[in-house]
């Protein structure tokens, strides 16, 4: 997989996130539960499609429709991070990922350090085979939902007004 790990990657990625006014945390598997628990409640999460990092037991699973709609925080995995743009890629597996990342006020995206790629071309080199082979969705999400239709830039229209990226070493 075309990845670049290491400090330089983290520095560039987090710089891009800051430019988008997106919060970030760099953490380890062990510390992940604590990092996620501190987000505002009600909080819901979706199991991660990773073998080595999983959604902490302490985060309530998204099950009820009204719970997802009313969540302050929605925790999902992001399967790629893109350094150049400060984007994260949110896929549709498991199927609750999309509503949880979309309806909460704050979307917390958990991305593994090794899944952070440099460029959009690198991201598409990953996404092409995935979409062809297994279908599904991939949302390239960059910063919060926003509109300028009402006379000035306003955050949080139909999607989350805040995004926080948690990078797991």
């Amino acid at each position: 997989m075309a990845t670049t790990a290491g400090d330089a990657t983290v520095n560039q990625f987090t710089a891009a996130l800051e430019e988008l006014d997106v919060g970030w945390t760099l953490t380890t598997t062990d510390e992940l539960p604590g990092e996620l628990e501190r987000f505002p409640e009600p909080i819901v999460g979706v199991p991660f499609p990773f073998e080595d990092v999983s959604l902490p037991e302490s985060i309530p699973r998204a099950e009820r429709s009204d719970g997802v709609k009313a969540a302050s925080t929605g925790v999902t995995a992001a399967t790629l991070g893109i350094v150049e743009y400060g984007s994260v890629v949110v896929e549709s597996k498991p199927p609750e990922t999309e509503p949880v990342s979309l309806y909460a006020d704050t979307h917390v995206a958990v991305v593994r350090l090794e899944d952070i790629v440099d460029s959009m071309s690198d991201a598409f080199a990953e996404l092409g085979p995935r979409l062809r082979e297994t279908g599904g969705n991939a949302i390239i999400a960059t910063g919060p939902s926003a509109t300028a239709d009402m006379g000035a830039l306003v955050r949080g229209v139909h999607g989350p007004s805040d995004v926080h990226v948690v990078i797991v070493k």
Partner: protein, 725 residues
């Protein structure tokens, strides 16, 4: 257009500018500046554009095959594909997917505007709700989009607040953009709750995976799909590209080109029927049985593909750059500069292709051919050329022959059909200029004489408020024929004096020749003056071609003898460098294109090659304000003028407006005078800042000269007049 309708048109444009101009201006200029800023950060911008162009060329070439492949893939994924021949066909099919009392939530899609699906579904009893905030505002206001990307760009915050007050009588005041946004998203959250069907467009479709790409920033397209278990996507057939990887350059270009963002908040890559969970009564439900229908719209596109001139339109990704960068669009917006559905420069192609010439005729003359959009377009579409072709087709179809007998002698064009007298007058201006010069100064007095101005306005639509150009009794050609050039020249040039330089603005031609001779260049003035620019700008392609052939006949022997071609007027140079590629055979075009130079580009080259700058007039710190010409900038040549002026010691400030607003004959036309002056106003402001005020104003284009002279009430020489000895 008759005289009466010219006046009516002028009044209509004035009204729209008064109501919508300020909002459109502010927003489009913001987008345009954003584009300049964000592409400047993109190292491989030009390569990405080339790649995007290549992908689109290839995709349209292989379109029938890609339609089949996409259909197979989507059907294998469990969706259905319907290829709709036209609007009626598409609407009938879509209506069959929706029950009469159901609610359809929609994300923004220009293609659904094109087929007017909302009206159709509503007539069948369905409830249709637009969920993009801008689209929803327009739905509430019952107005049409005025921009490809930001459909309500013409509405100010105040007018939206007023609209909500009237329509919803909200129980709290809605004043700030935050209030308005919150109100709208709450209202729309209810719509999502009750939605039965989600309708989206598609910015791209990939034949290999059956995926679609949606570009949004609000998140409403995501909700439209998530909140419903029936997904209907409507897209033109031209949206198909071969593979997922082909999307990458477009992802990087589309936001930058349009709203000037590096990327929009959400690029959704969906492979429908999507498996995203949906909201059950109590619990989230996996949605294995989501219904998916892709409605592919032909509606004239396959015919556009066969149409050599309109085909390029199909490469358009509807990013809106061509509208945002357009000086005229910035003033009038898409309600004037647009047809039934599409807006901005490329609307000429789209409307002609999907709705017919009638829809284009209303607005296509607002494209002056300034060419600033060509470099902004991420797929490099020659938008001005498409509009020229559209004008040409309109000219050929026009039926008003009433005054033809008057101009037949004056306007020896090669056009068939009864095109408007105004077009024939401006398109054949060289003939008028010849006569004007021959009879100067009597002709000048006659042209400025009140009753004659009145006649000119009534008959030809030449606005009375414009000063008529003054003809010179002695042509440049005549003046030059009496000169002896340098005894032992380093180089030889053939100088093509354009119509204005030869018959009217003779001073700039004299200065050019003096400067060249001072740099030890021998100058011969060509007999031919008209490049065909005037005719081309009126859509008179046959006449322009005839002029081009004459230019080639005259200039090529000189080129073969080793002479370079030098031209003062950028719009005429652009004919040789660029437009002749469409009008003349490839070899002729190449020879002319490669051997022709703008005057200061040529001077720059001479100085670079060791010519003595002391032979020219030293600037000594003279403070000047310089306005480059639009086509000169597109050719990348304004920089040469600036470099020469700086090298000679002039103290320079430059304008950064896209166009002066005169654009050849455009600003003389009665129906467009106000637009032209509004565009010029920005230039006037730039040259009235404390930094620029009081400086000598210089401009490279004849039109810019006329416009700036009007605006600034001072003489506006060509830069060569400053530097020539």
């Amino acid at each position: 257009m008759s005289r009466k309708s010219k006046r009516a048109k002028a009044a209509q444009i004035r009204e729209t500018m008064a109501a919508e101009g300020a909002s459109v201006r502010e927003n489009t200029r913001g987008f345009n500046q954003g584009r300049y800023d964000t592409v400047a950060d993109l190292e491989n911008y030009e390569e990405l554009k080339d790649e995007a162009r290549r992908i689109k060329e290839d995709a349209i070439e292989r379109l029938p095959e890609l339609i089949d492949q996409l259909t197979e893939t989507i059907e294998a994924n469990g969706g259905t594909v319907y290829l709709a021949e036209d609007e009626a066909d598409a609407n009938e099919y879509i209506a069959s997917l929706v029950e009469s009392d159901e609610t359809v939530v929609k994300s923004k899609s220009m293609t659904t505007e094109e087929i007017e699906v909302n009206e159709h579904l509503e007539a069948e009893g369905a409830n249709v709700v637009e969920t993009d905030l801008g689209e929803w505002v327009l739905q509430v206001a019952d107005e049409a989009p005025s921009h490809l990307v930001a459909p309500a760009i013409h509405k100010s915050r105040e007018s939206i607040a007023e609209l909500f007050r009237e329509q919803f009588d909200p129980d709290r005041p809605l004043d700030t953009p935050e209030d308005l946004t919150a109100f709208a998203s709450e209202y729309l959250a209810d719509a999502f709750e009750n939605a039965d069907v989600g309708m989206t467009g598609a910015n791209f479709l990939t034949a290999d995976s059956g995926s679609m790409m949606l570009v949004t920033s609000e998140g409403n397209a995501r909700k439209t799909v998530t909140a419903t278990d029936r997904h209907v996507a409507v897209a033109g057939v031209e949206k198909i590209v071969p593979s997922v990887e082909d999307l990458q350059p477009f992802v990087e270009l589309i936001g930058r080109s349009g709203t000037g963002q590096d990327i929009t908040a959400y690029i959704s890559l969906l492979t429908p029927p999507v498996e995203t969970a949906t909201f059950g009564e109590d619990e989230l439900e996996g949605s294995d049985d989501r219904d998916f229908h892709l409605v592919l719209i032909d509606n004239g596109r396959m015919a556009m593909r066969e149409d050599e001139q309109l085909r390029e339109t199909l490469y358009c990704i509807r990013c809106s750059a061509c509208a945002n960068t357009c000086a005229n669009f910035q003033q009038v917006g898409g309600h004037e500069f647009g047809g039934e559905t599409y807006t901005g420069g490329i609307a000429g192609g789209w409307e002609t292709g999907v709705h017919g010439l009638d829809s284009s005729e209303e607005f296509v003359d607002l494209c002056t051919g300034c060419s600033r959009c060509v470099e902004a377009c991420p797929v490099g579409i020659d938008i001005p050329w498409i509009n020229t072709v559209v004008r040409d087709r309109i000219n050929r179809g026009a039926e008003d022959h009433s005054y033809d007998f008057l101009v037949d002698g004056l306007t020896p064009d090669a056009e068939e059909g009864g095109m408007s007298l105004q077009k024939r007058f401006f398109g054949n201006f060289v003939t008028v200029a010849k006569l004007g010069s021959l009879f100067a100064p009597v002709s000048n007095r006659l042209a400025s004489f009140g009753p004659n101005r009145w006649i000119a306005e009534r008959l030809l639509g030449v606005d009375q408020r414009r000063d008529m150009p003054q003809f010179s009794r002695e042509t440049l050609k005549k003046w030059a024929s009496e000169r002896d050039g340098p005894a032992d020249p380093d180089r030889e040039v053939v100088f093509m004096a354009d119509t204005y330089t030869n018959y009217m603005h003779v001073e700039r031609g004299k200065a050019a020749i003096r400067a060249l001779e001072a740099l030890n260049v021998d100058v011969e003035v060509a007999d031919v003056t008209e490049s065909g620019r005037a005719a081309l700008s009126q859509g008179m392609v046959a006449t322009a071609t005839r002029h081009g052939e004459r230019v080639a006949d005259e200039l090529l022997p000189h080129v073969e003898d080793g002479r370079d071609v030098v031209i003062v007027e950028p719009s005429d140079l652009a004919m040789l460098r660029d437009d002749y590629g469409r009008l003349l055979d490839a070899e002729t075009y190449e020879q002319l294109s490669e051997n022709s130079y703008e005057i200061l580009e040529y001077v720059y080259g001479l100085l670079e090659n060791g010519a003595d700058a002391d032979a020219l007039r030293d600037g000594n710190g003279t403070e000047i304000a310089y306005h480059g010409h639009c086509q000169q900038r597109t050719l990348g040549l304004a920089a040469h003028t600036e470099a020469v002026l700086e090298e000679l010691g002039y103290d320079l400030v430059t304008s950064d407006v896209e166009c002066c607003g005169m654009a050849g004959s455009f600003g003389f036309k009665q129906q467009y005078y106000d637009v032209s002056m509004a565009v010029g106003e920005e230039l006037r402001e730039q040259f009235s800042t404390p930094e620029a005020e009081g400086r000598t104003i210089v401009a490279s284009g004849t039109s810019c000269h006329d416009q700036l002279t009007d605006l600034m009430k001072q003489d506006v020489p060509h830069p060569i007049e400053l530097v020539a000895p």
